[in-house]
Subunit: 306 residues, 2 copies
C-alpha cells in the first residue's frame, strides 16, 4: 500500500482566512484530536506579525505544545527569514515559505518582488539548516492568479529552479487561488519534477474553490505526489486572493484515499468527530464537506481492509 501523508493545514490556512479568532484551548484540542485520529503532520500556524494576522498570534505557543504530541510532525508557515527565525526558535520540525509565482500577488501578499523573495528563501534555508529543521518552499499561485490571471508554466519552472539554487530542498505546488484543473496538475507536476528532481516535489496544496479539489488531488497522486494538504471542514483560503476559499476538505480526502487503498494512517470515524470542535469554537462559520453529512459507505470497512 502506498503511504500518503495528509497534512492538516486548517489551523494555519483555515484560521488565517476567517475573522473569528479561535481560542488557544480550542486550537490545542483540535490538534490533539486530529493527532489522535492518526494525522501525522499539522501546520499549526504561521509566524507573521500579529498586527497583520491576529488569528496567528499564538503560533509559537502552539508549536511548543504540539511538539509534545508523540509522532506528530509540527510545521509552520513563515513569510520571510525573520519568521523563519521565530519558527526555529519555537522548535518547529519543519517550516515552509510561500513563494508566489505571480509577482503581482507576491508584492500584494508580502510586499516583495521575486528577487527579494529569493533572498528571503536563501536566508530562511540557512536558518532552517542550522536548526536542523525541514524547509520547504510553497510555489504559490502556481496554477493561476486572481490578479494576473494565467501564470506561465515556464515561469513556475524557472522560479522553482531559482529557489532550488537559493537553498530550497523541498517544494509544494500550491493552488492558492483554486484555479487548477487536473490536466494542468499533471503537466506542472511533471515539468517541475523534471526541472528540480522528482524527490523535491512530493506535495500538493489544493483549494476546492471550483469543486475540482479532489480531481486535482487524484491527478497529482497519479503523478507520484505523496503529500496532500487539506483543512478540516474545508475551512480556509487566502485573505490576499479574493474569491479563493476553502482547502481540500480533510474528511472527504481521507475517505477517498482510504477507500482507494492508500495508507493514510487516519481513522475516518475519529476524524469526523473532530469537526465538533470547530463547530463549537467557530459558531456560524461555514464548514464544507460531503462525507460528514453522508457518512462513510456501508462497505467502507471492507474497502479499507482490502
Amino acid at each position: 500500500m502506498t503511504e500518503i501523508l495528509v497534512s492538516e493545514v486548517g489551523p494555519r490556512d483555515g484560521l488565517q482566512s476567517i475573522k473569528a479568532i479561535m481560542p488557544l484551548a480550542a486550537k490545542k484540542a483540535w490538534i490533539v484530536a486530529e493527532a489522535a485520529a492518526g494525522v501525522r503532520e499539522i501546520e499549526v500556524g504561521s509566524f507573521v506579525p500579529p498586527s497583520l494576522l491576529p488569528q496567528m498570534a499564538d503560533t509559537a505557543e502552539l508549536v511548543r505544545f504540539a511538539r509534545d504530541i508523540p509522532g506528530l510532525n509540527v510545521v509552520a508557515l513563515v513569510p520571510n527569514a525573520k519568521g523563519a527565525g521565530r519558527a526555529v526558535e519555537a522548535g518547529v520540525h519543519g517550516l515552509s515559505i510561500p513563494f508566489s509565482m505571480s509577482e503581482t500577488h507576491s508584492i500584494r501578499n508580502v510586499r516583495k518582488d521575486h528577487p527579494a523573495m529569493l533572498a528571503e528563501i536563501a536566508e530562511a534555508a540557512r536558518i532552517a539548516r542550522e536548526a536542523g529543521a525541514h524547509f520547504a518552499v510553497g510555489l504559490a499561485t502556481a496554477f493561476g492568479c486572481t490578479i494576473e490571471g494565467s501564470v506561465p508554466e515556464d515561469q513556475v519552472v524557472r522560479l522553482a529552479t531559482a529557489a532550488a539554487e537559493a537553498g530550497a530542498l523541498e517544494f509544494s505546488l500550491s493552488d492558492t487561488t483554486g484555479y487548477a484543473d487536473p490536466a494542468q496538475v499533471r503537466r506542472l507536476v511533471r515539468k517541475v519534477k523534471a526541472a528540480v528532481g522528482a524527490e523535491m516535489l512530493t506535495t500538493l496544496h489544493l483549494h476546492n474553490t471550483r469543486g475540482l479539489g479532489l480531481a486535482n488531488a487524484l491527478a497529482g497522486l497519479e503523478e507520484g505526489i505523496t503529500t496532500l494538504d487539506a483543512s478540516l471542514g474545508g475551512l480556509g483560503g487566502c485573505p490576499f486572493a479574493p474569491g479563493a476559499s476553502g482547502n481540500l476538505v480533510t474528511e472527504d480526502l481521507v475517505l477517498m484515499l482510504n477507500s482507494m487503498g492508500f495508507s493514510t494512517g487516519i481513522d475516518l470515524e475519529k476524524l469526523l468527530e473532530v469537526r465538533s470542535i470547530l463547530i463549537e469554537a467557530l459558531p456560524g462559520e461555514p464548514l464544507y464537506g460531503f462525507t460528514p453529512d453522508a457518512g462513510p459507505m456501508l462497505d467502507y470497512n471492507e474497502r479499507i481492509a482490502r
Copy 2:
C-alpha cells in the same frame, strides 16, 4: 480534442428526487436554455406511473417538445418494457432502463428480481430496436448499495454479460448511491469493458454524495469514458436509495472538462445563466456547485482556446 458528451439528467434524476413538481413551462424553458448553451443530450424524464412519481407525469409531452430542438438528443428513462412502449410512442431518440446490480435494491425499486429484469430488458430492447431508438442499460448500484453494502465486481460483470445477451447494445455504469471511489471506477470500467466490449461501455452516471464525483469522473475519462451524466445544480438523487443525493454538478463538470481541453460544445457562461430557471421554479430547493459562486478562472478563456 477528445469530444465528451455531457448528458444532462436533471429533468429526470434531479426532479424525480424532490417533492416539488416543476411546472411544465419551466421544464421546457430549462431544456431550451441548456440546448442553447450547447448541451447535446438531455434526459427529459422517465416513463413511470404518475401515481408513483407525479413529477414525471408530463414526460411524453416533454419528449415531443424537445424533439423539435435541432441537434438535441432526447432520451428518457423507463423502468420496464411497458415504459419502453410509452417512450418510443412519444418519440424518444433513446431510452435507458436501470438494472440494479443489487437484487435487494432492484426488488425495492421496481419490485423485480434479476431474472424478471432480464426479461424486461429483452422486451424493451425489442421495442427500441423496432422503433429505431437507441437503447441503453444502466448498471445501477454498480459501486455499492445502501441496503446490501458492497456489490461484488464479478456480479456486475456477470449481470452486464447477461444483459448484453438479452439485447442491451450500450451500458452505463451507475453510481446510484454515491459509493464509488476512483480506484473502483477504473477497475470496474476495465472489467465490464473486457466482458462486453469496450464500445458498449462509454457512459458513467455518478453522484456526488461524498464529494468524490469529479474525481470519479476523471478516473472514468482516463479509462476511455466519453459520456458523463450530470445534473444542473447537482439536483437529484435516488428516492429509493436513502442518503444518495446529488448527481455530478453540470456546471462544475463542464468547467473541469473545458479547462482540461476536452471538447464539450458547451458554453459555460450560458450554462451558468440557466441556473436562474431552477432557482425561480424551485424556490427553497438546495442547489449545489462551486463554479456558480466562484465563477470561471480569470484565464478560463485562454485555457479553453488552447
